[in-house]
Symmetry: C2
Subunit: 88 residues, 2 copies
DNA sequence: AAAAGTGTTATAGCATGCTAGAACAATTGA
DNA sequence: TCAATTGTTCTAGCATGCTATAACACTTTT
């Protein structure tokens, strides 16, 4: 039995990731994780206010606040890791 | 702006995947994708009935049926790809 | 000082994925 | 043959992540 993390590590192209995610998660969940990731990137790379991001991405203000909390306050630093890596 | 798929591709260890997922998805969503992936693996590598899998993993029968549909009938073949890859 | 904008939190309502359980047609096995 | 098991689908109820909106305390701007 292989962990879901090992499953992700086995994928090597964007298309493979898409196909795995389309089997693994629902269209609604897919839309939501794309939104969260976009919010995280906007928080990281722009000076827009939470309300501007909320309106621009058509997501609720509470969702922006929640992503910001994971980006800044929660201890996992997964967003931070990927954002740093993308910069290079 | 980088796609969520590029974000996943940038991760290189299980721990990095865990940390990114803990920022990106909720604990409930994490539990659910782990369950779905486990169901897919049991469907693929055992002869257990859907009801046995349902009871053993403590998930609803409808969830097993749904995962089975993505494994066998839906066109994405993301589960299949990873399962094949894990076999080697 | 007053007005505007900020991040944050709470409320109510909605959509969706889950569960248990029942029911169904089709297949399997004694 | 006929009872049991199978995969599948439906129902009802529950939990949770979403939305818009309002309110709050703070800070910034005019």
């Amino acid at each position: 039995m292989f962990s879901i993390e090992k499953a992700f590590l086995s994928l090597t192209t964007e298309k493979e990731i898409v196909n795995f995610l389309k089997d693994l998660i629902t269209p609604v969940e897919y839309r939501e994780i794309r939104a969260r990731w976009k919010i995280a990137q906007m928080l990281n790379s722009t000076n827009k206010s939470y309300r501007e991001i909320s309106e621009e991405l058509k997501v609720g203000l509470a969702t922006v606040t929640r992503v910001a909390r994971f980006l800044k306050d929660e201890p996992f630093k997964g967003y931070q890791l990927v954002l740093k890596r993308m910069k290079k």
